[in-house]
């Protein structure tokens, strides 16, 4: 095909997006790295070069380890559940039965509702004299401090994240299930394979890439958790629900310790980038071919 556009045309088309990305992405990206080598802790207006001091301080800060542990707990608990439960639901919803659209709408509803409202709704369920403690009492279990007991608080917050994510991942699985060839299931039926066998031998191997995709996306979003914590616990009690983004927020915008916050942001950056690279290189390659 002949070239119908001038030399500058491609750049003109790219320019508006480029300006936004440079100002609100690339400059902040490099500035985060620069700030992480600065010391703002004594005077917010006069930074001094700190070298690796912020990083050293972080590694000597017990709260940082607590925060990393909480983030890791999020990964260990939420990610496997979000990888498996929605798949199970997608398989059920992929059957030819009545009422599917209604089920899909109801299960997807938590995804579109604001996380703030979701967190408030759960805070109400978790109240000291709330309905969940009532259910425990009916089962002859003593009330627990869902959000006030450091032993349980993080799990209570994780439940909200899982609850809000199930519908989203279910729809991803559902799209993948549609691509499994029907003939394979028919062959299973002829062989007399049961429900479980059918899905273990046909479905699971076929959608393995999607399972891996869901695992990495849910890991990445688990590392970015903020609103749930902010609305429900503010990181407490005793830092038991403080995750890395919340801690960065606190250091940056409440303690105004810009250098320290940036050094932690760099740590977050490195971890998330590793997961994203895995995601892009292994699972979403097709989308990003040059």
């Amino acid at each position: 095909m002949f070239k119908y556009y001038g030399k500058t045309a491609p750049y003109l088309f790219l320019l508006p997006a480029a300006i936004v990305l440079i100002v609100f992405f690339f400059i902040p990206f490099f500035q985060t790295i620069l700030l992480s080598f600065q010391d703002y802790s004594t005077n917010i207006y006069h930074a001094t070069f700190a070298g690796l001091q912020n990083y050293i301080d972080i590694l000597h800060n017990p709260i940082f380890y607590k925060v990393m542990w909480n983030t890791l707990l999020y990964l260990i608990v939420a990610v496997p559940i979000l990888a498996i439960l929605p798949l199970f639901l997608a398989i059920l919803i992929n059957q030819k039965i009545k009422g599917i659209t209604l089920y899909k709408i109801l299960i997807y509803l938590p995804v579109i509702v604001s996380i703030v409202v979701a967190a408030i709704a759960f805070k109400w369920l978790y109240a000291e004299q709330g309905i969940l403690n009532y259910i425990l009492n009916v089962l002859h279990i003593n009330s627990i401090g869902w959000l006030t007991d450091p032993k349980y608080a993080i799990y209570s917050v994780i439940i909200v994240t899982i609850w809000k994510g199930i519908g989203y991942y279910m729809m991803i699985y559902l799209a993948a299930l549609m691509s499994v060839p029907k003939e394979l299931y028919e062959a299973c039926d002829i062989d007399g394979a049961g429900f479980l066998r059918k899905h273990l031998t046909v479905t699971i191997p076929h959608i393995m890439p999607t399972i891996a995709l869901v695992t990495t996306i849910s890991s990445i979003s688990a590392m970015k958790i903020f609103a749930e914590i902010y609305v429900m616990t503010k990181g407490g009690p005793l830092n038991s629900t403080k995750t890395i983004v919340y801690y960065i927020y606190e250091k940056a915008f409440e303690n105004l310790d810009l250098g320290y916050a940036s050094a932690m942001a760099v740590i977050l950056l490195v971890i998330v980038m590793i997961f994203s690279l895995i995601n892009i290189c292994c699972f979403e390659r097709g989308k990003y071919q040059v």
Partner: protein
């Protein structure tokens, strides 16, 4: 045999559906209970005994929820509009043109996917301050500051690029033979053909922007500028333990997005647009 299996499937799905909506149902129930009813009663009652809309009236009078709603509409509307324009403009040369630095542009955009906003939010805030895009200057600047960091995304650019790639080359050739220049090709020929992708981008950008909480809670200083999520979170502080009001305010704030979702449900639950939405 087959029927029995279906009953189990239905029971499981009904159970999960109920779990999905129960937190909202319980909030709704609380919001409709009058002051004559103990909202901490054991055993709890789902159907309000002292049924009333008084909490809705009360919260509506004391909190400017309409203002929050309008603010959210402005921010989400502006974000959607800019994303549609910037993504399709940028997606077009990446799909259809050969130029120096194309690979660099491509990978630079791809790189933005890997970096979470949460990690760079502090300098983004400092830059926004420096550009005076904050509500302490004036409302318009405040809105611009809420919108600009999310005015374009790699997701949108790649979505539009894919859409342009799928259009047959003959379309452009015919237009050029007819005497169109490159901007006319883009505007009159290509853009109308990628409407479905624009719709997908608009809807998912809208949902994302509507629910955004972190950025507005960083930049906003004036209550009159609050978007719905920030305003709803603020209800907790205003009515410290008046759960009837908090519940009523939360329910009101959710109505618009539920209407939007039901109207656009095919985009969300048809199973065709997966991998769209949020990060």
């Amino acid at each position: 045999m087959i029927k029995l299996k279906n009953i189990w499937i239905h029971l499981t799905l009904i159970f999960v559906s109920l779990l999905s909506i129960f937190p909202f149902i319980w909030l709704l129930s609380t919001s409709l209970k009058g002051s004559g009813e103990n909202i901490f009663a054991y055993p709890p009652t789902l159907i309000p005994q002292d049924f009333t809309f008084a909490n809705y009236v009360g919260v509506w009078h004391r909190v400017d929820l309409m203002r929050y709603f309008i603010n959210s509409m402005i921010v989400a509307g502006g974000t959607v509009l800019l994303n549609l324009i910037l993504s399709s403009l940028a997606g077009y040369p990446l799909a259809r043109m050969e130029f120096k630095g194309k690979k660099i542009a491509f990978f630079a955009i791809l790189a933005t996917i890997m970096v979470p906003f949460q990690a760079i939010m502090l300098p983004v805030y400092l830059i926004t301050l420096k550009l005076h895009l904050v509500d302490s200057v004036n409302d318009t600047m405040g809105f611009i500051g809420l919108i600009m960091p999310f005015a374009v995304s790699a997701f949108g650019i790649f979505l539009m690029r894919q859409a342009f790639l799928a259009i047959p080359r003959e379309m452009e050739e015919a237009a050029i033979v007819d005497g169109c220049n490159v901007f006319q090709v883009f505007w009159k020929v290509l853009l109308p053909m990628v409407k479905p992708s624009l719709a997908v981008l608009a809807i998912f950008t809208f949902i994302g922007s509507w629910g955004e909480f972190l950025w507005p809670s960083i930049v906003l200083t004036k209550e009159a500028m609050y978007t719905l999520p920030v305003g709803v979170n603020n209800l907790q502080g205003m009515f410290s333990s008046n759960w009837r009001f908090i519940a009523a305010g939360s329910i009101i704030s959710t109505i618009p997005i539920i209407i939007f979702f039901l109207a656009m449900q095919k985009y969300f639950i048809s199973g065709e647009n997966e991998g769209a939405v949020k990060g």
